[in-house]
Symmetry: C2
Subunit: 207 residues, 2 copies
DNA sequence: TAGGTTTCGGACTGTTCAGTAAATAACCGT
DNA sequence: ACGGTTATTTACTGAACAGTCCGAAACCTA
């Protein structure tokens, strides 16, 4: 019996995410969000409880997307586990996939992990952001570790290697490529980094 | 024949760097800098041309420190090149050394690469910051690559490996540890990541 | 079509911001 | 000790900020 909202919640959150990515948290004003989303200030406060609420919900949405994408991309038959790891690594160093209904960002910097970027900027003083970022990292790390275990089971990775250690290392490389790749290095260089990392994975010693 | 300044320029820049690290660029006001450094607003504008000038000079100072430290830590006799690489990697994942005359930051997050942090926050819209960050990365990368070459010459690293590729990969790991390590992971985990990376370095195949 | 409910959008408020300007203080050569 | 020069401090300005509020509009049920 009441007026329904006239905007799509996810669409608004995606637009806000784009804005936060482009200008950082403290660098975007509520007016910027308003302009990017098309919503008035009142609507923003009513639906998301202000700037900080928009950020938290945008990050939650990002986490949800990541939690869907990473395990799916890494799951599959044992035989192709190593190949999936290879493909995931190559894709990840070139940036996280953004929301499908918005135009993709042109440069690598804009495709950096949203959670990492927000955590680095305000995580020190914002426990909720910090926690959300940790969860984003965990979901990737766990999925990678599981894929490593499968590859080990299939004899493609040295069974003596600790899959969790490897997953931490790979996650670190992926996050590092957000920083290194964003400023001054070409996509080819990122590909090269990913290939180097993949080539160094410990293979089983064929006796 | 004029009044000399009553503050130490480097000391002020270090204090400002600490503040920028803690709150980000857009998150620190000129009053924050003023409080952190003890200087009044007028002095800040007279000596550094305002907030942005303070940032640029602080980053330049950081770059200078890094440009001194990294090559020195990685230079030495051929026999111990691999060991130096090992030590540098272990140290780097635990954070960059801060200025010696200021108390060290307690947590890993505060010890993240200053250039990387600023570049991620405002580099997209600030070419000077972007360039300074690139230079910070380059100076480390070049020093690491040189050390890899020396280790290859000494027969400790596979001579077929591309030293520049390896240096890019190691730099990416170091930068990634700024992000991964800062939020939710223990120093032991960082050590473990560094050890894993070091263990995976391509050794010469002993025929 | 009328009433009740919720959303929408812009105007408004008090605060904080970066940057400026002017008055004051410190120094040094003479 | 004095005058010229520079550093320092403080008060000020206009703009931008986050957040609130209220009139108007849109919708559903009846």
């Amino acid at each position: 019996m009441a007026r329904p909202r006239s905007f799509d919640r996810d669409h608004v959150l995606h637009a806000a995410e784009r804005q936060f990515r482009a200008s950082g948290y403290n660098g975007t004003s509520v007016d910027d969000i308003s302009a990017a989303t098309g919503l008035g200030r009142g609507s923003l406060y009513g639906a998301f409880d202000g700037k900080h609420g928009v950020l938290l919900e945008a990050m939650s949405g990002y986490f949800a997307r990541l939690g869907q994408f990473a395990p799916k991309a890494l799951a599959g038959p044992d035989e192709s586990a190593l190949e999936r790891l290879h493909a995931y690594l190559l894709r990840a160093v070139h940036g996280v996939p953004l929301a499908p209904d918005l135009p993709p960002v042109p440069d690598r910097a804009g495709a950096a992990c949203f959670a990492a970027k927000m955590a680095l900027e305000i995580g020190a003083s914002d426990p909720e952001v910090k926690r959300l970022a940790s969860e984003c990292f965990s979901v990737v790390r766990v999925a990678v570790a599981e894929c490593v275990r499968v590859a080990q089971r299939n004899g493609d990775i040295d069974p003596d290697a600790d899959p969790d250690d490897l997953a931490y290392l790979l996650l670190t490389i992926i996050r590092g490529s957000d920083v290194v790749g964003a400023y001054g290095h070409s996509p080819d260089r990122l590909t090269s980094i990913a290939e180097s990392a993949f080539a160094l994975l410990p293979r089983p010693r064929h006796t």
